[in-house]
């Protein structure tokens, strides 16, 4: 265990998020059993009022988790010099087997909480709170994710031993190795860029279709998620090379370091936001037929899709800028 303030801050966030998750899951169970809007009783009124608290709490947990996600990666980067062999976040996360799972769970929590908040806002817009049951069923699913994330993170930090020799990005992201990360690294750059362009085009077309003709929203959400994964692969396979001006440095984390002008944030922030909004739009599309939401949802979904397209567009611009401004020539 390393005694460090950022680690304590992260554990604090996870602890609070865990408490909120537990408590709201418990409340969720009550809602699933007792929720009845037609009932004018005190109990129903109090449940309605508690949903305000849960929404506010979740909004904060989401905000804190988003900050914590940034802090987690940033701190892993910063701690790299404490571990033999670590040069960036990859090395730190590799110190024990819980590092990367903790990161993945944090990312998953971010997306899940974002979608939940989008559903929550839609629910409040409907006169009969049409999605309340769905929402609280969602919380009951979300709570284990948040708790697991906190537990894995705690295990990871508790097991940080500085005398462990870890392997860093130069070993992990090498085509010659085995495993997923090297598969991705070995993805031919040209193919990666074609895939990225293709999914970008799918996003643009389905987005345009849903904005102009009001159809294809589901397709947009799916393309958004596909774009997310393709973009991560493309960052590892080729975009990182352009940012580093180096033909063999594939690391997706070194991008976040000051030496590279924090370019990673320019890439990741719009990508993550775009994906979260696309996911939210897709989930809302499922409920578009609910009577009390029929007049409200289409406009909301359009707005989400529009914002999501702006975010993806920013990501696209950042990618193109990385390629154009690079000294590195991969093709030609």
């Amino acid at each position: 265990m390393i005694f460090q303030t950022p680690i304590m801050a992260l554990l604090l966030v996870s602890g609070l998020a865990g408490l909120v998750a537990l408590w709201s899951a418990w409340f969720g169970l009550r809602v699933l059993r007792r929720w009845n809007l037609a009932d004018g009783s005190r109990e129903q009124l109090e449940m309605e009022r508690q949903t305000h608290l849960i929404s506010t709490l979740f909004g904060f947990v989401m905000l804190a988790e988003a900050l914590a996600l940034l802090l987690f990666v940033y701190n892993a980067d910063r701690m790299a010099n404490l571990f033999v062999g670590a040069m960036c976040a990859v090395g730190t996360l590799n110190v024990n087997e819980y590092g990367f799972p903790a990161l993945y769970l944090k990312v998953a929590t971010f997306f899940a909480a974002a979608v939940w908040l989008i559903v929550d806002r839609a629910d409040r817009a409907g006169r009969d709170y049409p999605l309340t049951r769905v929402k609280y069923a969602g919380i009951i699913l979300l709570a284990p994710l948040i708790l697991a994330g906190g537990a894995v993170e705690l295990t990871y930090f508790a097991g940080l031993e500085t005398d462990v020799i870890t392997s860093c990005c130069s070993k992990l992201f090498t085509p010659a190795n085995e495993g997923l990360s090297s598969e991705v690294t070995g993805l031919p750059p040209a193919l990666a860029l074609w895939l990225l362009g293709g999914s970008g085009l799918a996003v643009a077309l389905s987005g345009a279709a849903s904005l102009w003709w009001g159809r294809g929203q589901m397709l947009f959400a799916v393309s958004g998620v596909v774009l997310f994964f393709v973009a991560l692969a493309a960052i590892i396979s080729i975009i990182s090379l352009y940012v580093y001006d180096h033909p063999n440095h594939h690391c997706p984390f070194c991008l976040l370091q000051p030496e590279h002008g924090y370019y990673g944030y320019v890439l990741y922030l719009p990508l993550f936001f775009g994906t979260a909004l696309a996911l939210g739009a897709g989930v809302l599309q499922v409920f578009v037929g609910r009577p009390s939401l029929r007049d409200i949802l289409p406009a909301r979904i359009r707005k989400l899709i529009g914002l999501s397209m702006v975010a993806f567009g920013l990501f696209g611009l950042a990618t193109i800028w990385a390629i154009v401004s690079s000294q590195l020539i991969v093709f030609g």
Partner: protein
């Protein structure tokens, strides 16, 4: 038009001190008219007024506003409805101390996210109309009784609500001020607004502009006596 059918309101539900404030009320309050609820204290007229004004939900029974059922709506929709449909003048006026008159008048519009300049103009126009324009920037605790009442009326009308709800509006006013209040009500009627109030002040419920008097006793409508 507001219709109540079989409306019951319990306080402290399920506890030993449970109390039925209203018991099986069937009532239609006409739009575009002045209605006064009257009766002795504790007869439930204020509770009835709060149900009419969508301030609370009935324990059982239904409330319809212009044909839409509002009794089953979640609290936040009731609030939204209240903001746009009703303006409230409370018995003790309930202005927020420490804030100026104009700040108080603007308050009900705050959650609607209004344009600040336009809202201030609207508030000033309303104060002007009620003869309070020169007091706009004074804290409300320095107003006299009649001025406080007019400030409360200005606040109630800031969202241009079609229905004004007033709870014992003339409780502490002398005859001059009561007449002034009745003039204001006449003005509101001329603007086409509906006025619903509680009062046990004969100067109010016998006034000529009152169209409709509802008498209450012990949480029920008092049907023994025909309305005046």
């Amino acid at each position: 038009m507001i219709t109540l059918s079989a409306v019951t309101k319990l306080y402290n539900e399920g506890r030993p001190n449970q109390m039925a404030a209203l018991d099986g009320i069937d009532l239609t309050v006409p739009g575009d008219a002045v209605t006064v609820l009257t009766g002795p204290s504790g007869s439930g007229k204020t509770t009835l007024l709060s149900l009419i004004g969508c301030m609370a939900r009935p324990t059982s029974g239904r409330v319809h506003l212009n044909g839409d059922m509002v009794s089953g709506l979640p609290e936040s929709f009731l609030t939204g409805l209240r903001r746009t449909t009703f303006g409230f003048v409370f018995q003790r006026f309930n202005l927020v101390r420490g804030l100026s008159v104009i700040e108080n008048v603007r308050l009900p519009a705050v959650p609607l996210g209004p344009d600040h300049v336009e809202l201030t103009e609207r508030a000033m126009a309303r104060l002007e109309h009620l003869g309070l324009a020169d007091k706009a920037d004074i804290p409300v605790e320095y107003l006299s009784g009649g001025e406080t009442q007019r400030a409360a009326i200005a606040r109630a009308l800031i969202n241009d609500a079609p229905i004004l709800i007033a709870d014992e509006p003339t409780a502490n006013l002398d005859t001059v001020l009561v007449n002034r209040f009745l003039d204001i009500v006449a003005d509101l009627r001329a603007e086409g607004r509906t006025v619903i109030m509680t009062s046990h002040d004969p100067r109010i419920f016998t006034a000529s502009l009152v169209d409709n008097v509802v008498r209450m006793v012990d949480g029920r409508l008092d049907t023994e006596e025909a309305p005046a």
